[in-house]
């Protein structure tokens, strides 16, 4: 702990010492006064002896791209590193800690917490991985008939059945056809396979769009606060400006058009050209599902202001409340009568979330509509430099968008698995929400969707002072204390941004259902002792 603090201090000193280069100084539109975390927080505190300011080396901390230094990604940041060190140490010093395992509630990584993959999907993938299986009689005893049929269908769509070959840079055509059909079945409006760009997860698609949209720090992207820090990191990496719009915690993280308008005008007055509006629906970390009316207002806003709508819809299959339903922005726009000429819309989907949780496979796509062909050519060109996304992920994406149907052999087991996972998530969301709301000074909006709870914690002044003394943001201070006392890993709200002066943390709903009571107990006990220590 001591070495870590020294590391922090060293970083602060180094930061002030670092010469300000003559090139881009990226301005963030809303500097967060409440965020004293140094730009480059030290991770490897065992390596303090290795000096980085060796001026004879061409590539050092002083000479790398400043955009790299500026960007942050708290989901796998500081707290997680401490947790990993603790986890390693736990193996040898079991008795030194008041807990016997680290529970990672920092990241939406379901299968790392024992969620099982969908059997049908993995059957198809295994058969496509090793096509020789399809020639063997024994295979019929090991695999369901419809998974064999689907594998054949997919392989017939791949030239030479070669799953090891680079595909078309947008992804295999036949798989895009399946995805387009899936989108149409979902929305009731047609989708064009040529609008689909398959990517290694949804994140690379977001990066591609930022690359196209951002030419300088004068280009702004409207992002929800709180937001999933891929957006802030990507904007920083590409040298643009994040234009925040605040979601309203008091109204269940509602999105007000008046707030969008206000922030847009504010940005314009500062010489920022706002190029796009990013909306995460269902929200991350906030979990809210937008109402259709809200979505219509957003579409109109983008149309009127000439903004690209970046619709992050990766949690579209994670909705837990009966009074809300997911509607894609494409569906909403089309049902308003808006077509290709009316609104530029990029919709992102991923195989990492939903009930399939295939994070490690890296699959996803963006559906790009409402752009002229010369712009689309540029999108294609950027995609082509990386040749293509991984084939296995592409196959999964097509399965996610066209899963087994009633009547298929695997349908019953597929539905059972899917509903089992989703209903369990809904239960866990409720249990954790209720538990958090019982804690002193904590209020937690319900998780309508996605995979997270984002409670607001009203920290006592004493705690805030202690945090400041430790040169840490108060929510980070709380989360570190929690980690050290309970082994539970959360992400401080500052990692997602929040209204200045408010504090939150993000906790996933993903630990196994039978572990939840223990987690609730530990959290409750810790919180009580923390408040006892710092109560004003």
């Amino acid at each position: 702990m001591r070495r870590f603090v020294i590391g922090q201090a060293k970083n602060l000193i180094d930061q002030t010492r670092r010469p300000r280069p003559h090139h881009n100084n990226i301005r963030l539109l809303s500097p967060l006064a409440s965020d004293p975390i140094p730009v480059s927080s030290s991770r490897f505190f065992s390596d303090m002896t290795g000096s980085d300011s060796s001026s004879s080396l061409p590539v050092t901390i002083d000479s790398i791209n400043p955009n790299v230094l500026k960007c942050e990604y708290a989901v796998r940041g500081e707290i997680v590193n401490i947790a990993q060190k603790l986890q390693d140490d736990l193996k040898i010093n079991k008795d030194a800690y008041p807990f016997d395992e680290i529970i990672y509630c920092n990241i939406g990584n379901p299968q790392s917490l024992s969620q099982q993959p969908i059997t049908f999907f993995r059957e198809v993938l295994a058969l496509c991985s090793h096509t020789a299986l399809l020639d063997r009689d024994e295979t019929h005893a090991l695999f369901s008939a419809d998974s064999i049929a689907r594998a054949w269908k997919i392989l017939d769509q791949i030239p030479g059945k070669a799953t090891g070959a680079y595909s078309h840079s947008q992804g295999i055509k036949g798989l895009r056809d399946a995805i387009a059909a899936g989108i149409e079945a979902r929305d009731g409006f047609p989708a064009d396979p040529n609008d689909i760009f398959m990517t290694d997860g949804a994140s690379p698609g977001v990066h591609m769009m930022m690359q196209l949209l951002i030419s300088s720090e004068k280009d702004g992207i409207l992002c929800p606060i709180p937001q999933y820090p891929l957006y802030s990191a990507s904007i920083a990496l590409h040298g643009g400006s994040l234009v925040p719009y605040y979601l309203d915690e008091a109204s269940g993280w509602g999105l007000e058009i008046s707030e969008l308008k206000k922030q847009l005008e504010d940005a314009k007055s500062k010489g920022i050209t706002v190029r796009a509006l990013a909306v995460i629906n269902p929200g991350n970390p906030t979990g809210q599902v937008l109402s259709e009316e809200n979505q219509r207002d957003i579409v109109d806003f983008c149309k009127k202001e000439g903004l690209v709508l970046l619709a992050d819809e990766v949690y579209q299959e994670n909705v837990y409340v009966p009074d809300k339903k997911f509607h894609s922005f494409k569906k909403v726009a089309r049902s308003m009568g808006y077509g290709e000429k009316d609104i530029s819309l990029v919709s992102f989907q991923s195989i990492s979330k939903g009930y399939y949780g295939e994070c490690g496979k890296r699959g996803g796509y963006m559906e790009v509509t409402g752009f002229t062909s010369d712009v689309r050519e540029q999108i294609y060109k950027v995609a082509s430099v990386n040749l293509c996304s991984n084939i296995s992920g592409q196959i999964l994406a097509s399965l996610v968008m066209s899963p087994p149907k009633p009547g298929d052999e695997s349908y019953e087991s597929y539905i059972a698995e899917k509903e089992g996972i989703l209903s369990s998530m809904a239960r866990r969301a409720k249990t954790l929400e209720e538990a958090l709301n019982k804690l002193e000074g904590i209020t937690c909006n319900r998780a309508e969707g996605a995979m997270y709870l984002f409670p607001c914690i009203n920290l006592p002044q004493k705690a805030i002072a202690a945090a400041e003394a430790a040169k840490t943001a108060p929510d980070t201070f709380y989360c570190k204390r929690l980690l050290n006392a309970t082994g539970i890993v959360l992400v401080p709200g500052s990692g997602f941004r929040q209204v200045p002066g408010t504090w939150h943390f993000r906790c996933t709903i993903l630990p196994q259902e039978d572990k939840i009571p223990a987690i609730v107990n530990r959290l409750t006990e810790f919180h009580k002792s923390f408040m006892d220590e710092f109560r004003d």
Partner: protein
């Protein structure tokens, strides 16, 4: 009327400036023709499985089991999977934190990185630190990550060989940096002359460019040459003197078709040179599962190893990697299998060796067939493909052809390659996509078409070329070197 949200004018200039010919004009035209029913032989990209090369059996067996771990619980699994594949699948699954579907460490699974480090150690004879090895979704992603770190603005220059694999030029464009070319000597078997390097650097500096890094592609792409140990020493010394980080693209290290210059890694040479160089020269080495005899392009698996990169810089690179969460886990397993293949005594060893040797020996033969085929044409000069997967013949074009190209609004080699495509279905990439000396034209093709189809392909090419030459013949001879 609504404002146009993103029109061509307002696009990031860097995006507009970037070019990637490998999937550019020729490829798009070939795809169009294919849709119209024409038989196309795609030799535009190093994509072995697309041209009939079969995947190696063992890794596919292992990964299939990892995709569907429930198979491992089935008592009959031993009937269709060999015991060593089953054991290996269990091994890799145990390295993951939840199977293929869980994000791994953002640098890649520690267990796999350890296997990569052990491979590097066996290969080079020097220790390798898994903490300095990052797995990536293909080597290209790694190259982009590193260049993104190095390039701050347009004053930062990156030394890139000409001809080069256009990932480098495209990425430098996208990142807003400056490409500083150094020319390889075609008459000297695409050799690298340090004097050329010095000239390029001097010229760049005189224009206010800070040269930050040097790229070498060894074996070369598109040129295929294998660098000698002496050459590598010169390069490393040069990087030390000029304070450049060396980016060693070694993705073709398994593809060697001559015995005079076996592959030696830049890392080995650097370590052999001893202190102070071995402690001062910054080096990042790239490798992949896409090439070699594996050819698993579609998996998107690669890694880079950092040497003499300071800890805090490594942290920053790690931080950027973490934004993408993790490289895909299936490909990480392919990488593990590639660096620790079946050993003598393993059940699958004989089959593995047979399959690998078969591929490599055939590639060696095809390299020869193609080189000789090109050289049998009067106006074509082709250096032998010492390594990698490509042939890069120089096509001497008569001035009438060059004029015709101009009139058609095309660069001469694009003009030639389009005509070649339309006449024969052979889809190549014009040399202009890789860079070449002014007035000198090339095309790049791969040596990957099936061996039994090669003679016919070369016949087809020769026929087209001879017809083209007689159509555009003039008294004044060909384009000069």
């Amino acid at each position: 009327m609504s404002l146009k949200a993103l029109d061509y004018e307002s696009l990031n200039e860097n995006v507009k400036n970037c070019q990637y010919a490998v999937r550019g004009e020729l490829y798009l035209r070939a795809s169009e023709l294919q849709k119209e029913g024409k038989k196309i032989i795609f030799t535009n990209v190093g994509n072995p499985h697309a041209l009939g090369q079969k995947p190696l059996t063992f890794p596919r067996q292992v990964v299939a089991l990892c995709q569907a771990p429930f198979l491992l619980d089935n008592p009959n699994v031993g009937m269709i999977f060999p015991a060593d594949a089953i054991a290996r699948a269990k091994h890799y699954l145990s390295l993951t934190s939840g199977g293929l579907g869980a994000y791994s460490d953002s640098r890649g699974l520690p267990g796999v990185r350890k296997e990569v480090a052990e491979f590097i150690q066996r290969r080079d004879g020097y220790p390798s630190d898994p903490e300095l090895i990052f797995l990536t979704d293909g080597a290209s992603k790694g190259v982009m990550q590193i260049l993104n770190c190095v390039i701050r603005d347009q004053k930062d220059g990156i030394l890139v060989p000409v001809p080069q694999y256009p990932l480098y030029s495209a990425t430098i464009s996208l990142l807003g940096g400056t490409l500083v070319p150094y020319y390889l000597e075609e008459t000297d078997n695409w050799g690298l002359d340090v004097n050329n390097l010095r000239q390029s650097v001097a010229q760049a500096r005189s224009q206010g460019i800070t040269v930050r890094a040097m790229v070498i592609i060894n074996p070369g792409n598109p040129t295929g040459q294998c660098l000698s140990e002496a050459n590598l020493r010169e390069i490393l010394k040069f990087c030390c003197d000029e304070r450049l980080v060396l980016l060693g693209d070694e993705v073709y290290q398994q593809n060697i078709y001559q015995d005079e210059r076996p592959f030696i890694s830049s890392k080995k040479v650097l370590m052999d040179m001893g202190a102070p160089l071995s402690k001062e020269v910054q080096l990042i080495s790239f490798h992949t599962v896409s090439k070699g005899y594996w050819g698993e392009c579609g998996q998107r698996g690669g890694y880079f190893e950092m040497t003499n990169i300071p800890p805090r810089t490594v942290e920053e690179i790690y931080k950027v990697a973490s934004i993408a969460l993790s490289p895909n886990v299936s490909a990480q397993i392919f990488m593990g299998l590639m660096v620790s293949p079946p050993k003598p005594g393993d059940i699958s060893y004989d089959q593995f060796v047979r399959e690998s040797k078969g591929i490599l020996e055939s590639l060696r033969r095809r390299a020869r067939i193609m080189t000789d085929g090109f050289n049998s044409c009067k106006n074509v000069v082709c250096n032998f493909t010492e390594g990698a997967m490509y042939s890069f013949p120089q096509i001497k074009l008569p001035s009438k052809a060059i004029q015709a190209a101009k009139q058609a609004g095309k660069v001469p080699d694009v003009f030639y390659c389009l005509k070649l495509l339309e006449a024969t279905g052979i889809s190549t990439v014009p040399g202009s996509g890789f860079g070449q000396k002014e007035g000198v034209f090339h095309l790049r093709t791969t040596i990957l078409p099936a061996e039994e189809e090669m003679p016919e392909i070369m016949e087809s090419f020769k026929k087209f070329n001879d017809e083209f030459m007689s159509q555009y013949a003039d008294r004044f001879g060909y384009s000069r070197m």
